[in-house]
């Protein structure tokens, strides 16, 4: 018979929840700050703000060409520019799930739950592959 105690989340689930909570709000906070820096003009952008209304209706391939904008992890080299500074918060948002999954690995090893250990490792590899940009960056 299930009890209220058994309805509680597992420790690894609680750890994942805490990590998501702080990571998500930190990334939103960073986004708001860097956006304010960007639109206030405190740091000059790579793509001039006035040019964007001409560019954002183009397909991504043409946009990258016209704006001389980077793809893949090229944004990391432009963090000194107001627009690409915003990618810090966006990248943190995208990294939270990967970090969360990494915290699950030791928990499943401790439990000797090898099936879920494999599932988590495969998921981390899939997410890292997507994040790495190895799977064909470039335009369309």
């Amino acid at each position: 018979m299930a009890t209220r105690e058994s309805a509680k989340a597992s420790p690894e689930q609680m750890l994942y929840a805490d990590l998501l909570f702080y990571g998500c709000w930190a990334s939103i906070f960073i986004m708001v700050i860097t956006y304010a820096v960007y639109v206030s003009g405190l740091i000059s952008p790579h793509i001039p703000l006035e040019k964007l209304p001409h560019l954002w209706r183009l397909p991504v391939k043409d946009f990258l060409h016209e704006a001389n904008a980077p793809h893949g992890w090229g944004w990391a080299l432009l963090l000194g520019k107001g627009d690409y500074l915003n990618f810090l918060g966006i990248a943190l948002l995208g990294a939270m799930t990967i970090i969360g999954f990494l915290t699950l690995i030791p928990a499943y090893v401790r439990k000797k739950d090898w099936l879920f250990f494999i599932i988590v490792v495969l998921e981390v590899l899939a997410l890292l592959l997507a994040a790495s940009g190895i799977l064909g960056t470039g335009g369309h």
Binding site: A7, C24, V60, H71
Partner: protein
């Protein structure tokens, strides 16, 4: 006093809904006025409109019980001047931010269950990577036609599907048993501990291949598809299905979002007001939920989805 508050909230809601319905129309009118309307507008014009639009969208999404992404992509691609590539990139980030913000509360209350979510997430997120590449490789008009058809299908699904609060699962199947897809949660409304388990696991897992591809291809959150599969097909209680679906989005959308990010499909000037606007709107929506009549909102959202689906379809066919 309560009635007065209700009326005031009701009036605000209708004003907000009117704003959402009116602002795309206004955007459309502006588009029709000039061949390249945004060229005549200052750079901050469309991001500011988008912030306000997404704030209202966030309120409506909570009241209608749908994710922000499913409303964001068809409406913004249909009525704003941004190319579909950037709308899909921002749509995935919007859905991801919403899912990550909701995730902790759901995980702590055991309404999002790791044992149910992880195997499903592995399938959906790897397929979402494939879907993202497929969506970016296909011509824009083909994606727009498929998006329109999908949105119309979602509207019909929302109108007709009837989820079951606690489906009867007599015996768990072998795959569900091997994966340990069962759990316990505390139902606050009835103060009881609810045990659950899944069945029909294999067809459920197969359907998540399709869901993952569609999420990546169109930049939509896939809550509209996750919930019926988890609840109606696999037999998870509705609360667990909704909670696990929201958590699942944080994994599926992460993989697809990275593909769009690496392809250069994220413009911060429009993506960040979308994320912030929708999240602020969601907070307000949760507060309004207590006094609103979600059924009317739900019908209105179905209407808006049908309208934007037809618009996307016509745009793809070169008619709209």
């Amino acid at each position: 006093m309560v009635r007065g508050l209700r009326e005031r909230v009701g009036a605000c809601l209708w004003a907000a809904l009117a704003a959402v319905v009116a602002s795309p129309g206004w955007a459309l009118a502006a588009e029709a006025q000039a061949a390249v309307p945004e060229v005549n507008k200052p750079w901050w014009f469309w991001p500011l409109i988008l912030l306000f639009f997404c704030f209202v969208l966030g309120i409506i999404a909570v009241l209608a019980g749908v994710g922000g992404g499913v409303l964001y992509v068809p409406l913004v691609s249909g009525f704003f001047p941004f190319h579909l590539d950037f709308v899909r990139g921002a749509g995935l980030l919007v859905a991801l931010a919403g899912a990550l913000a909701a995730g902790p509360g759901l995980l702590r209350r055991n309404l999002a269950n790791l044992r149910l979510a992880l195997p499903v997430a592995l399938i959906a997120s790897t397929c979402a990577i494939g879907g993202a590449f497929l969506g970016l490789a296909l011509p824009t008009n083909v994606v727009q036609i498929c998006l329109g058809a999908t949105i119309i299908f979602i509207a019909l699904l929302l109108a007709t599907s009837k989820n079951v609060e606690r489906p009867q699962v007599k015996a768990q199947d072998a795959i569900g048993q091997a994966l340990g897809m069962s759990g316990v949660y505390y139902e606050e409304s009835s103060r009881e501990v609810v045990e659950w388990k899944t069945h029909r696991t294999l067809p459920g897992l197969i359907l998540f291949i399709v869901i993952g591809v569609m999420a990546g291809m169109f930049g939509l959150g896939a809550g509209w598809a996750n919930v019926p599969v988890l609840n109606l097909l696999m037999g998870a209680p509705l609360k667990v299905a909704v909670g696990t679906s929201k958590f699942l989005l944080s994994i599926t959308d992460t993989s697809a979002a990275w593909v769009y990010l690496n392809k250069g499909c994220v413009i911060p000037l429009m993506a960040i007001p979308s994320i912030v606007g929708l999240m602020l709107g969601s907070f307000v929506g949760v507060r309004i939920l207590a006094v609103a009549k979600p059924k009317i909102i739900r019908y209105l959202v179905i209407g808006v989805l049908l309208f934007s689906g037809i618009k996307a379809l016509l745009k793809g066919l070169g008619i709209g």
